[in-house]
C-alpha cells in the first residue's frame, strides 16, 4: 500500500519564518520517507511547525512544499487551505468526532478523497491497527490507546501524502504506550510515507525515528540520523543528560538456548542480550545509555560483564562537575560512556586512547529494542 505511483515520492521541504507575540520560529527542514522526529522541550516550536505544515497556522514568510506540490509560498502568494493539503494529522488529544461511530470516524476523510487518489483500503487499515472489534463503538467508550489507534487510522484513510503525529502518546500511560508503539512501527515499515513525529520523549524517538530534527527555542539546533544526533556530546543539554546514549543498528545472530542469550552483531563488535524471538538476520535497534557503559584500559578478566567492545575515544565532554561523558568509536559505531571525572583523570583518558567499553547485558532489555526500519534514502536536512 503506497501513495499513487503517478506522483513522485513525497518529500517535505520547509523553509519558514513565523513570529507570534514574543515567539519566533525559523526553520529549514527537508525530509523524505520514514519517521522524522521533531524533538525538543515544550515551547521549542515543534507543534507550531507541524501546524504550519497542516495549514492550521499561516507562516509570515517562507515556503512549504510536499512532493513537488507547493502548499505555501509567501512570495508566490500560495496558501492552500488545510483541506486541500492532503496531510494526515494525528493530534495529541485524538480529536475523534464524538457524534460518529468509530467506523464513521474512520471513513470521514474518505468522503472527501476523490476515488482516484485513494490508496488506503479500509480493510487493510482496520487490520493494520487492529480496529475490527471497535468499529461500532462510540469514541466515548474507547480507552485512550484505542482512541489514538482510531485517530491514526482516520488520518491514514484520507490517503494523505504525509502523516503528522503530534505527541500521539503523550496522553497515555506506559502500558497504553507500549500497546501503540508496535502499530506505529508497522506504519513506518509498511507505508512509504513520510511521517513527522513530534515528541519530547527520547525513548520513543530512539525507538521509532529514522531521522531527528532537534528543536530549541524556535530554531533547528541539529538534525541528522537519530544515532548520530543522540550521541553528540555538545547536544546533551538539549537531548537530556540522564537519558543520554547511543542508538545502534544491529543484526540478530545466533541464540544460545542453554543460557537463553541472543547475539547481536554490529560494525564494532557483538552484544549478548536476553533471548529475542526474532529470526537470525533481522535488524534490531539497540539503545545503549551512557550510564550503562563503563570504560577499561585493558580487557578486564574475572568480571561478570560479557559485553565488551574495543573502541577508541573520540572526545570527552568538557565539564567541571563530578560526571563526564565520553564519546567512543567502535569500528565506526558511536557509543557514549558516562564516568566520573576522577576516573577519567586516573585512567588518563584522552581523545585517541584505545579502550574497552563495558556494557551490562541487563541494560539491553526489550524496552530498548525495536525492529529497525527499512533502509531509506538519506534525507537532506540542513541547519
Amino acid at each position: 500500500m503506497t501513495p499513487t505511483t503517478s506522483e513522485e515520492p513525497a518529500s517535505l521541504e520547509i523553509d519558514i519564518e513565523h513570529r507570534v507575540g514574543g515567539f519566533d520560529l525559523a526553520a529549514k527542514v527537508a525530509t523524505g520517507p520514514g519517521i522524522t522526529a521533531l524533538f525538543g522541550r515544550s515551547g521549542s516550536g515543534k507543534t507550531t511547525l507541524v501546524n504550519l505544515i497542516a495549514g492550521l497556522i499561516r507562516p509570515q514568510r517562507g515556503r512549504i512544499a510536499l512532493g513537488g506540490r507547493v502548499l505555501f509560498d509567501h512570495t508566490a502568494g500560495i496558501d492552500l487551505p488545510p483541506h486541500r493539503r492532503q496531510v494526515g494529522y494525528v493530534f495529541q488529544d485524538g480529536r475523534l468526532f464524538p457524534h460518529l461511530s468509530v467506523r464513521h470516524n474512520l471513513l470521514y476523510g474518505r468522503w472527501f478523497t476523490p476515488a482516484g487518489r485513494r490508496y488506503a483500503s479500509f480493510a487493510a487499515i482496520v487490520d493494520l491497527l487492529g480496529l475490527g472489534p471497535l468499529l461500532d463503538r462510540r469514541p466515548l467508550h474507547l480507552s485512550g490507546g484505542e482512541k489514538q489507534r482510531v485517530a491514526i487510522g482516520r488520518a491514514l484513510l484520507a490517503s494523505p501524502r504525509i502523516v503528522l503525529m503530534d505527541e500521539p502518546l503523550a496522553a497515555l500511560d506506559g502500558a497504553r504506550k507500549a500497546e501503540i508503539l508496535p502499530y506505529i512501527e508497522r506504519l513506518r515499515d509498511e507505508l512509504a510515507l513520510p511521517i513527522i513525529y513530534v515528541s519530547h520523549a527520547i525513548d520513543e524517538v530512539a525507538r521509532l525515528a529514522d531521522w531527528l530534527v532537534l528543536m530549541n527555542d524556535g530554531r533547528v539546533a541539529a538534525s541528522g540520523q537519530v544515532g548520530e544526533v543522540l550521541s553528540r556530546l555538545d547536544l546533551r543539554p538539549l537531548t537530556g543528560r540522564y537519558e543520554a546514549g547511543a542508538v545502534i543498528e544491529t543484526r540478530v545472530g545466533e541464540t544460545d538456548t542453554a543460557y537463553e542469550l541472543t547475539t547481536l552483531s554490529f560494525a564494532g563488535g557483538e552484544l549478548r542480550v536476553p533471548r529475542l524471538a526474532l529470526a537470525p538476520g533481522s535488524l534490531v535497534r539497540v539503545r545503549i545509555r551512557a550510564r550503562d557503559v563503563a570504560i577499561a584500559l585493558a580487557r578486564p578478566q574475572g568480571i561478570s560483564i560479557q559485553n565488551m567492545v574495543a573502541a577508541r575515544i573520540i572526545e570527552l565532554s568538557a565539564e567541571q562537575g563530578p560526571i563526564i561523558e565520553i564519546a567512543l568509536d567502535a569500528g565506526g559505531t558511536r557509543l557514549l560512556a558516562r564516568v566520573t571525572r576522577l576516573s577519567a583523570d586516573l585512567l588518563r583518558l584522552a581523545p585517541g586512547v584505545p579502550v574497552w567499553a563495558l556494557i551490562k547485558s541487563v541494560a539491553l532489555d526489550r524496552h530498548m529494542l525495536s525492529q529497525a526500519p527499512g533502509i531509506h534514502a538519506s534525507p537532506d536536512i540542513e541547519l
Binding site: A54, G55, L56, P81, P82, H83, R84, R85, Q86, V87, G88, Y89, F91, D93, R95, F97, P98, H99, L100, S101, Y108, G109, W111, F112, T113, R138, R154, A155, A158
Partner: protein
C-alpha cells in the same frame, strides 16, 4: 358534545400555528446569529449582541410598540414588505408570529450559542485536515454537535411563543380568529363578568400544551443522545 368549545379550538389552533411559524422561521436566523456571535469576531459584534438580547430586557409593551411603528402598514418596513411581497403583519396572525419570534429570539440564540461555544474548535480543525471544506465542516461536525442546543433553543422559543402576551396585544391587538391566542383569550375572559369557568378551562389547556411540548422535546433529546439521529 365536543370536548373543546369553538373559542377554545380557535385559540389553541392559533397559538400552535403562531408558535410553529415563529419558531421555524426564526430558527435558521438564530443558528446563523449564534454561530457568528459564538465563533467569529467582526466589527459591530457587540452592537448585534445587544440588539439580539434587547427584547429580553425591554418591557414587552415597548417591543410591541416598536413593532407597530416599524411593521405597521404605514411603518417603513411594513409598507415595503406589503408592496414587494404582499406580506402584511398589522392586526394579522402573521404579526402575532413576528412578535413571538422577536420575543423568543434571544432565548433561542442564547441556548444555541452556548452549544456552539462548547464545541472544541480542534474537532473542526481535524475535519479540515481530513479534507472537509468550510461548508462541509459545518454540516458534518459543527451542526450535529450543536443539535442539543438547537433543540433546547427551539423548545424555549416555542414555549416563549405560547406564553407571549404583551408585545402581541400591543402590536396586533385582540382579534378573534386572527390574533386571539391562548394567553390573549384568557386575558379577554378575565375582563368579562362570570368568565371564571371558561378561564380555568383555557388555563388547563395552556398547561397541557406546554407540558406536551416539554415532553416531546425530552423524548427527542434522548433519541439524539442515543445517537439515533447521527
Amino acid at each position: 358534545m365536543p370536548i373543546l368549545t369553538q373559542l377554545e379550538m380557535e385559540a389553541l389552533g392559533l397559538s400552535l400555528k403562531v408558535g410553529l411559524w415563529s419558531t421555524l422561521v426564526s430558527l435558521p436566523l438564530a443558528i446563523a446569529v449564534a454561530v457568528a456571535l459564538g465563533r467569529s469576531s467582526f466589527p459591530g459584534k457587540s452592537l448585534i449582541d445587544t440588539l439580539v438580547y434587547l427584547p429580553l430586557v425591554l418591557p414587552p409593551v415597548v417591543t410591541g410598540y416598536f413593532l407597530l411603528v416599524l411593521f405597521g402598514r404605514r411603518g417603513p418596513l411594513g409598507a415595503a414588505l406589503e408592496q414587494w411581497f404582499g406580506l402584511v403583519f398589522a392586526f394579522r396572525w402573521t404579526g402575532a408570529a413576528l412578535a413571538s419570534a422577536v420575543m423568543g429570539f434571544p432565548l433561542m440564540v442564547r441556548a444555541i450559542r452556548l452549544s456552539v461555544e462548547a464545541i472544541d474548535p480542534g474537532l473542526e480543525q481535524a475535519a479540515a485536515t481530513l479534507g472537509a471544506g468550510r461548508a462541509a465542516v459545518f454540516a458534518t461536525v459543527t451542526l450535529p454537535l450543536m443539535l442539543p442546543g438547537i433543540l433546547a433553543g427551539t423548545l424555549l422559543g416555542f414555549a416563549r411563543s405560547l406564553g407571549e402576551f404583551g408585545a402581541t396585544i400591543t402590536f396586533v391587538s385582540n382579534i378573534p380568529g386572527e390574533t386571539r391566542t391562548l394567553p390573549i383569550a384568557i386575558y379577554g375572559l378575565t375582563q368579562v363578568p362570570g368568565g371564571d369557568a371558561a378561564v380555568l378551562r383555557l388555563v388547563l389547556l395552556s398547561v397541557a400544551v406546554s407540558v406536551g411540548a416539554l415532553f416531546a422535546s425530552e423524548l427527542l433529546a434522548r433519541r439524539i443522545a442515543k445517537g439515533a439521529v447521527a
